[in-house]
Symmetry: C2
Subunit: 337 residues, 2 copies
DNA sequence: CCCTGGCACTCCGTGTTCCCGAGTGCCAAG
DNA sequence: CTTGGCACTCGGGAACACGGAGTGCCAGGG
C-alpha cells in the first residue's frame, strides 16, 4: 500500500512543513524535491497517504499537514538521527567543563539543551534509588534539634531538620554518627531499609528513642521521598513557536513536577531515545507538543532522564541528535566526577 | 492643579480599567462610581489628567487608560494596601506549616505567592552574606578528593567537591575539620575572610597546602560566589494576562537570574514594599510589567527579597497585601526554625 | 466661576461583500 | 501507471459601509 515513492512524499511533506510551517501542496513538493514525477502523481500519492491517516488537510483547498501518525512513521522509518556539528560538540564540552557539583551540572545541562534545541529542556536529577550512601552527617542545632545531612555517591546532598524527643549530648551525637556511617557507608539505597532496621540492636538502650527518630527521617528522606526533582529551562522558546493556543496549559504542565516526571519517565521501548508525539502523550494540554527524551547515567546504568518538549512540528532528526549527545556527555561527566 | 475630585476620577479610572481591561469613558465612570457630577465635568477633569500625563487615550474617541505615571500616583496616594481575607490567611498558614528545610520553604512560598496573586512569583533564597556559619563538614571521597559541606544558620547547605594537591589521611581530615569548626562556628559571613586568613598559623606546616586549597574554596563558595539563587513559579499566569506581545521577552527575563536579582534587589526607598511600575523598570522587555517586592527575614534583619511580576494593569492594593503578608509569614517561619 | 446639557465630530471595530489564488479531485489521453 | 488539463472549492485579504462609544467645545444656568 505504501510504496517507496509514497514514503518519499511523506518525508518531503514532513520536512517542508517543519521548515515552512505552512501546509504543503503538490506543486511546491514537485518543485523543491526532485521526486521525478509530476504534481498530479504526487496528488494521487497524497490521497493515498491521507486515506492511511498520515497526512491531513486543514481545509478543502489547502495543502497537507502531517498527522501525529505521519510524524510517527517519519521518526520510525524515514529519518536518521542527525549528529551534531563540530561547533555544537565543542559548545557542549566547554559548557560542561570543570569539576562541578551536581546542582551546577544539572543547571548547566538544562540550559545547554534549551539553547541547543531551541525548545523547552527538562532534566531530572539523578535518581536517589540507584545510588549509594556516601556519608551521613549529624549537626547539632539546638538541644533537641539536629540537622541531618545525607550525601550520596552521585554528589547529591539532602538535608533535613529533625526535632528530637529528648535532649542529646554532643558525644552521643558523635557516637551515633559513627555508628550510622559504619553501617550505611557505601550502602545501596535499595538496601537502606533493611540495614536501618537492623541498627537499633547495636545501640545502647538510652540512645534508642533518639536513634529511632533519626532513622525514620533517614528512611523517609532517602526512600519514601524519592519524588525526584526536575528542572526546566527555555520556556521562552515556547513563545517563539506559534503556540498561541494552549500555551497556558503547557506552562502549567511544566510547573507540575509530577506531570514532567511521567513525561520523561515512561519509557515505552528499550531504545536509547524515547519520542512521544502529540496525542501519544497522555496529558491534555500537551496535545500539540512532542517530547524527545533519553536516559543518562554514569557508566552503563541509567540514573535519570532528560529531554526536550516542543511543538509537534519540530525537527526530529536534529532534536534527537542534540538530546542524545547531551545525555551522553552528561553521563561522561557524572562518571568522571 | 489636581484637586480632590480629579484624584477621585483618576482612582476610579484605575479601578475600572484594572477590572475591565478596557479603556474607560466618562459616561461609564459617572454611572459606576457616584462622583456626584455629570459626564461632561468628568471629561474636563480627564482632559486635565491627560495634560498632566496621568492618563492617555489610545485613539481619539476612545476611553482613557492610566499611564505609568498615573499608576504611580494611584499607588502612592490613592490606594491602601488591602489586607488578606481570613481564608487567605489560613491558606498561607497551612501551606507553610510544619518544620521544613529551606528548600521546601522557598519552593512552597513561591507557589503560594503565585497562587494567591495569580501573577508570576519570584523568591530569592536568603542571602548568604547576612547569615552565619553553623557547621563545616569535610567528607573524604577519594585519596585526593573531599567534599566540603557548609551549613549556615538559615539552614542553607552548600556543597563543593575539592581536588587536593596531595594525599591526605583521615585523621588529618578530622583535625582540619575540628579546627575549621572551632574557628568558623557562628562566624558571620562578612567576617569569614579575615577569620580564614588568620587560620593557617594555627596549623602544622605539613597541613598547610591542603588547608590552603580548602580554605580558598570556602572563601569562594561563601563570599565571592554569592550569586544568590532565585526561583520563580506561576509563569502560566502570564498566558492568562493578555500579554500577546512581549511574552517571549518576559519569559526570557525570568530565566535570567541576574535580571531577576536586580529587579527584586534594587530597593529604592525605605518602605516595606517596593513597587516598580512599567517603564520605571530598567529592563527592556519588561516594559508593560510591574513588580511588587518586599524584603523578608528572620527577626528584624532583611535576609532576602520576594515579590511578584505581573502586567502593569494589576490590582495593586490586593497584590501588595498578598506580597506583604507572605513576606511576613515567611519571616516568622524562618525565625521559628 | 464652575457645572451641565447639547451637539457635531472622529475613529474603532464589526460585519459584509467580493475577488483572487492556491490547491484539489477527476478524467481522458499517452 | 503517469500526465496534462480543467472545473471546482474555499480561505484569506481588500474594500467598504456603518453603528456606537467617546470626545471637545460651547453656551447657558446656578
Amino acid at each position: 500500500m505504501l510504496d517507496d515513492r509514497k514514503l518519499a512524499v511523506l518525508r518531503a511533506i514532513v520536512e517542508d512543513y517543519v521548515s515552512t510551517n505552512e501546509p504543503v501542496g503538490s506543486k511546491a513538493l514537485a518543485d523543491r524535491h526532485n521526486l521525478g514525477v509530476s504534481p498530479a502523481t504526487i496528488r494521487n500519492d497524497m490521497a493515498a497517504l491521507e486515506d492511511g491517516g498520515y497526512i491531513h488537510q486543514p481545509h478543502t483547498s489547502a495543502g497537507r499537514v502531517p498527522t501525529d501518525k505521519g510524524y510517527r512513521l517519519f521518526v520510525d522509518r524515514l529519518s536518521q538521527v542527525k549528529p551534531l556539528s563540530g561547533a555544537e560538540r565543542r559548545a557542549i564540552e566547554t559548557f560542561l567543563a570543570g569539576t562541578l557539583d551536581l546542582d551546577e551540572i544539572v543547571t548547566r545541562t538544562v540550559r545547554l539543551l534549551a539553547q541547543l534545541t531551541r525548545h523547552v529542556a527538562v532534566v531530572q536529577y539523578p535518581s536517589l534509588t540507584r545510588s549509594t550512601v556516601r556519608h551521613v552527617e549529624i549537626v547539632p542545632l539546638a538541644e533537641t534539634r539536629v540537622m541531618l545531612v545525607l550525601i550520596t555517591n552521585t554528589g547529591r546532598v539532602e538535608q533535613r531538620v529533625v526535632d528530637l524527643p529528648e535532649v542529646i549530648a554532643d558525644d552521643r551525637v558523635s557516637h551515633l554518627r559513627a555508628v550510622l556511617n559504619a553501617a550505611l557507608d557505601g550502602c545501596g539505597l535499595a538496601k537502606v531499609p533493611e540495614t536501618v532496621a537492623a541498627l537499633p540492636e547495636r545501640l545502647s538502650p538510652e540512645d534508642r528513642p533518639v536513634a529511632a527518630t533519626i532513622l525514620s527521617v533517614i528512611l523517609e528522606t532517602l526512600v519514601e521521598r524519592h519524588e525526584e526533582k526536575i528542572v526546566f529551562a527555555g520556556a521562552a522558546n515556547l513563545a517563539a513557536a506559534d503556540f498561541t493556543i494552549g500555551l497556558r496549559d503547557v506552562l502549567e504542565a511544566l510547573e507540575e513536577q509530577v506531570v514532567l516526571m511521567r513525561l520523561l519517565g515512561e519509557t515505552d521501548d528499550l531504545s536509547e531515545l524515547t519520542v512521544r508525539i502529540g496525542s501519544e502523550n497522555p496529558y491534555t494540554g500537551l496535545r500539540g507538543t512532542s517530547i524527545v527524551a533519553a536516559g543518562y547515567g554514569a557508566g552503563d546504568k541509567e540514573l535519570a532522564r532528560l529531554g526536550v518538549l516542543g511543538p509537534t512540528r519540530m525537527d526530529y532528526p536534529v532534536t534527537m541528535g542534540a538530546v542524545r549527545a547531551v545525555a551522553r556527555y552528561v553521563g561522561q561527566i557524572l562518571a568522571g566526577s
